[in-house]
Amino acid sequence: MTDPTATLTRPVIVVQNAVKSFSGRVVVDIAELTLGDVPIEGLIGPNGAGKTTLMRMVMHSTGLDRGTITLWPHGAVAGGGVVLSNLPSHRMAGHGVVKSNQVIMDFDKLTIWDSLLLAAAASKSERPHRIFDEPRVFAEASDEVARYLDEFGIREPSTYAKSAGEKKLLDILRCLLLKPKFLLLDEPTAGLPEELTAKVIDEVRTVASQGTAVVIVEHNLDVIWNLCDEVHFMAEGKVIMKGTPAEIRAHRTVVEKYLGEGHV
């Protein structure tokens, strides 16, 4: 568990009256939800509960039928809110809101080094006339990238990511390199070998302790119970329960009804 007193400067995302339906079926319908109150929040629920859709709505990669999603970079009281649901998707990262992908997403023409340097590079180094900027980008990012490569045991970073697990890991590392203030992780450990899962969890704890708000969707409930300070339980597009892992687990009947036995 991370230290909950560190919430003061943490950014908050407030979801208000957010509705999304696909061909008539309401997938997400949330009256009010605040994410980022505590360092690490979990989002659980059965398949089709709208978890991934909600995450996509936050990133504005799925549009809202109605409602707003607002980012308060210094907490809800401090002011200076940014309405995320009006922003184009490439502006999200600039505000520190970053999401890893549930399905495998990769640049098939880029090597692992490329992929990570791409995430780390500043926009001003990527203009058409900056054709001599590679050494600078490399110098700025290489220590951090090398640390990740070392920690996650990536031996040949000059080649392309091959396995699904490697691509998934790369996706998460790219997100971390963006120095997120608000990190959304959509099933980060699905498809990862166990020892990497543990390392990813460590990494998430570290960034959370440094002031990043983390929201994590995960089917592996052990990860949720271990990692999260607070858990939202979603079903049928709504958050029906919210509490600490212990509180959620106490509602054995509800959780088992949705997720099946043996999960609590």
Partner: protein, 290 residues
């Protein structure tokens, strides 16, 4: 008022083949999802085949339509077997496929000059009478072309939308797996689509050719407009293509009358259509995001 009447008459008669060509292109586009640049050569070849039959066997223009259409249809099927089917089997990407069709278009456009020669060719048809429609002089020939195009377009529309084979074509175009599961012979229906598309293009070409002259760039000159009509009509089916195609013809005529310059009309229309596509893509930009 005169402008409206003139635009209607000129637009409908002069640009009638555009509708026909667009229908053929739209069929292929919906089946394969491919912007087949080489389709423009089906149009050109229709004009050449018609001219060749017309001048060689001294046949009446309307008797020429049938063989010209069939020959163009066969060429279209030929391109499918020679290029597009092998390409699909090799899993060539969308972008590469467009470039391949561009290459095929160029190959056919220049290759046909070895067969038909370099000079400009003409149909051998008697000079037409002129009728007055809504106060505008129109050659009987163009009126007949309009009627023929209308009949052929509607027949194609009926065939695709109402007949049993048409149903299979639409099924295959929307979902190949499902169509296969419901007992359609995909190869037969695919070949049929390529053939019909070729016939439509070829007939359009014959009408273009008899209206002016037969040159290797005949189809290429129309291709941009065919493309624009089909893209703007989007997913609204053949009915949409007919409506947009007709409207485009009328708009071209009206703009030409306004600016006294057919070329300006084309530039304005190209710009307008591309802006429309841009505007529409803004509204449907949802899809390709993480």
């Amino acid at each position: 008022m005169q402008l409206i009447g003139d635009s209607l008459v000129i637009g409908l008669t002069e640009h009638a083949p555009l509708v026909l060509a667009a229908i053929g292109f739209a069929l292929l586009y919906r089946l394969t999802g491919l912007m087949n640049v080489a389709y423009s050569e089906t149009v050109t070849l229709g004009a050449y085949f018609g001219m060749w039959v017309n001048t060689t066997f001294d046949l009446n223009f309307y008797a020429v339509l049938l063989p010209a259409g069939i020959m163009a249809g066969l060429v279209s099927v030929g391109t499918y077997f020679a290029v597009f089917r092998p390409a699909k089997r090799r899993n060539v990407g969308t972008l590469e496929l467009v470039i391949i069709s561009f290459g095929l278009s160029i190959f056919m456009r220049y290759g046909l000059q070895f067969v038909f020669g370099y000079p400009v060719r003409f149909y051998d048809v008697p000079p037409p009478d002129t009728l007055r429609v809504l106060g505008t002089g129109v050659s009987t020939f163009r009126l007949l072309a309009l009627v023929s195009v209308a009949v052929v377009s509607l027949a194609l529309y009926w065939f695709i939308q109402k007949s049993r084979l048409g149903l299979q074509i639409r099924a295959l175009a929307s979902d190949e797996g499902l169509a296969q599961a419901s007992g359609i012979r995909p190869l037969f229906v695919t070949v049929l689509i390529w053939f019909i598309a070729g016939v439509a293009g070829g007939l359009a070409g014959a009408f273009y050719g008899v209206g002016s002259s037969v040159v290797p760039f005949l189809g290429w000159r129309q291709f941009l407009f065919i493309l624009l009509v089909v893209l703007v009509a989007g997913k609204r089916g053949l009915g949409g293509v007919i409506v947009v195609g007709t409207a485009t013809g009328i708009a071209l005529a009206a703009l030409t009358l306004q600016t006294h310059q057919a070329y300006y009309a084309q530039v304005i229309l190209i710009a307008g259509f591309v802006l429309f596509l841009k505007w529409r893509s803004k509204r449907t930009a949802e899809a390709g995001k993480v």
